[in-house]
């Protein structure tokens, strides 16, 4: 029996290792390609041992305005995150704390907004931004991303707020705090981990977004995901550059997802599964 147990355990370990390798391999292949010279990249069959070079990374910044796109991405994602989390926290607190009629409906409405395919919303938003003269500006993307992520932020934060015992803010009220300062001094600090987790998720989603960035921006406010698809057309495909750009775009997101690893499932299912 014990021997059997051990064999099963060994099998489980091997299978797990194989699966992890299978899912990581494409990423490793991208990283390898980014470290190859154009000559090595075009070797066929693919070479596995070569002199790694960082020239692709340098060239991405030298040959294209990659730094400019990087700054755009950073600013747009940060501003959207701040706006979505600030508004979302207030709404979430209301949903978690106050009983009012139809709170379920509001909650469901917020969720159903997330169902809307972006392509259904992009036409009117594009026309609106054009009328406001906001096309190809940071503002257009910040407005789009913060509102797009607001339902998500509200929903996720609602879960975090309802985990704080009600008695805490109630006693603050009894002690003479106003609602707003009970929110600010008691609920917000206690929900700090939730706020950070939510902020990281919103940042990741904004950073990764493609369709709105494609349609609302041209060159001035273009973000990284759109810029990198531009590489395909301009140069044929310089695989080394593409790979290096891809690695640069995904690295911060990988770091962030390591940071929220414990809350990954909760975030990705909007708190439905903890």
């Amino acid at each position: 029996m014990r021997r059997h147990r051990k064999t099963v355990d060994l099998f489980v370990e091997i299978a797990t290792g194989a699966i992890v390798l299978l899912f990581l391999f494409p990423v490793l292949y991208l990283i390898l390609t980014s470290l190859k010279t154009q000559v090595d990249a075009f070797q066929y069959p693919p070479v596995w041992i070569f002199r790694p070079t960082f020239s692709n990374y340098r060239e991405v910044f030298d040959l294209y305005p990659f730094g400019h796109f990087l700054v755009n991405s950073l600013i747009v994602a940060s501003a959207s995150t701040v706006a979505a989390v600030a508004l979302g926290a207030m709404a979430a607190y209301a949903l978690a704390r106050f009983s009012f009629r139809r709170s379920k409906d509001v909650a469901f409405w917020i969720l159903s907004i997330r169902m809307t395919p972006p392509v259904a919303a992009i036409i009117p938003i594009f026309i609106l931004m054009r009328m406001l003269g906001l096309l190809d500006s940071w503002a257009s993307l910040v407005i789009a991303y913060s509102t797009m992520n607001l339902p998500f932020a509200t929903w996720l934060l609602r879960g975090f707020f309802s985990e704080i015992p009600r008695e805490l803010d109630e006693s603050a009220l009894v002690d003479g705090c106003s609602w707003f300062s009970a929110f600010r001094r008691i609920a917000l600090p206690l929900a700090a981990p939730g706020l950070v987790v939510t902020a990281i998720f919103v940042f990741i989603f904004s950073w990764n977004e493609f369709l709105f960035a494609l349609i609302l921006t041209a060159t001035k406010a273009q973000t990284l995901p759109v810029a990198v698809t531009g590489f395909i057309r301009e140069t044929g495909i310089m695989w080394g550059h593409m790979a290096a750009a891809g690695v640069i775009i995904m690295t911060p997101m990988v770091m962030f997802s390591l940071a929220v690893q414990r809350y990954m499932v909760r975030g990705l299912t909007m708190g439905a599964i903890k």
Binding site: V20, M115, A121, P124, I127, M250, L268
Partner: protein
């Protein structure tokens, strides 16, 4: 995001007026509503306002637009056509129905396989001791957290007919090289594979969370009654896991219908219309041909499809008393 500043005032005022009442009553019962005045309005107001502005406006505007014919950039303005756009979409546009078929095949294949593979991986991981699980899960979730455009780049690299890794494997097996993304027979499957790679880890972790949260008692009772491994899975695990499965599938369905980035980077809808999902079809009408009225009608039809399918799942979830 302007409404923030004025919000600070009202709650203070409201609270002051409410306060004596709270102080006068003994201790408030903990489950009773704590405020009778709509303070919530002040907290919820800005979000509801923003969402109304940014969602109701596009919906109404889109609906109006869908009843008109308008080509952006043309000299002519909006021309009222009534339901003609919708009639065109549903009755006279064969490409639309092709796109519907492509979309359903894509969503069905991707979400279905992600569920099966995710469940299998979760069952496997669930057999491992807890402690080491963290690293494996962290590594596994990488594809899901990656920027979708980069997922596209990765797979374009792997599928590349001349120097891609996949054709290298194929040639080692003694088969002729394939034009994975350029061949009518393989293009859709190739995009689906990329989607499966991206999202299976998500499904697996969701299922794993569901498995880990299960009570032990039913399994112990089952073991005493002599249930086989398969019976335990079929009659205990699966029913207990149903709400989790529904949540995972619902979320994936909503997102799979939105798929745009992968198609844009990998195939641009081609060859022919073999990978032209509805998102991409609508995008082309709107932003390549600039037939805005028609694209608005298309987007409404897409929205209707997503809402109907999601509703089925939301109902089922309500049935299982899952709070979503």
């Amino acid at each position: 995001m302007a409404p923030e500043a004025p919000d600070v005032q009202p709650p203070t005022r409201v609270a002051r007026s409410v306060h004596p009442t709270i102080a006068a009553t003994p201790l408030p019962q903990s489950r009773r509503p704590i405020a009778r005045v709509p303070v919530w309005l002040v907290f919820l107001g800005p979000t509801v306002f923003v969402l109304l502005a940014i969602t109701v406006f596009p919906l109404v505007y889109s609906l109006a637009l869908s009843l008109h014919s308008w080509t952006m950039g043309a000299r002519a303005g909006w021309r009222w056509v009534g339901l003609q756009n919708f009639a065109m979409v549903l009755r006279a546009d064969p490409y639309f129905w092709t796109s519907v078929r492509v979309t359903l095949a894509y969503v069905g294949a991707a979400v279905g396989l992600e569920l099966l593979l995710g469940l299998a991986i979760a069952l496997l991981l669930n057999r491992r001791a807890d402690g080491r699980g963290g690293t494996v899960q962290t590594l596994l979730i990488l594809p899901t957290m990656m920027t979708p455009v980069v997922v596209g780049i990765v797979w374009r690299l792997l599928y590349n007919p001349d120097l891609g890794f996949l054709n290298y494997v194929v040639s080692r097996l003694g088969l002729p090289p394939q034009h994975w993304l350029g061949d009518l027979g393989t293009a859709l499957a190739a995009v689906v594979v990329a989607d499966i790679w991206e999202w299976t880890p998500f499904m697996a972790l969701v299922m794993l969370a569901g498995l880990r949260a299960m009570p032990r008692d039913p399994f112990e009772a089952g073991a005493i009654d002599g249930a086989s491994g398969w019976q335990a899975f079929r009659y205990i695990t699966l029913p207990l896991l149903t709400p989790t499965i529904l949540v995972g599938v619902l979320i994936r369905l909503m997102d799979a219908f939105k798929t745009f980035d992968l198609v844009f980077v990998l195939t641009k809808g081609g060859p022919g219309m073999s990978t032209e999902v509805l998102s991409y079809y609508t995008y082309r009408y709107g932003f390549k041909f600039f037939h805005m009225g028609y694209a608005a009608a298309l987007s409404y039809v897409l929205l209707a499809i997503v809402v109907i399918i999601s509703q089925i799942f939301v109902r089922r979830l309500a049935h299982h008393e899952v709070e979503l």
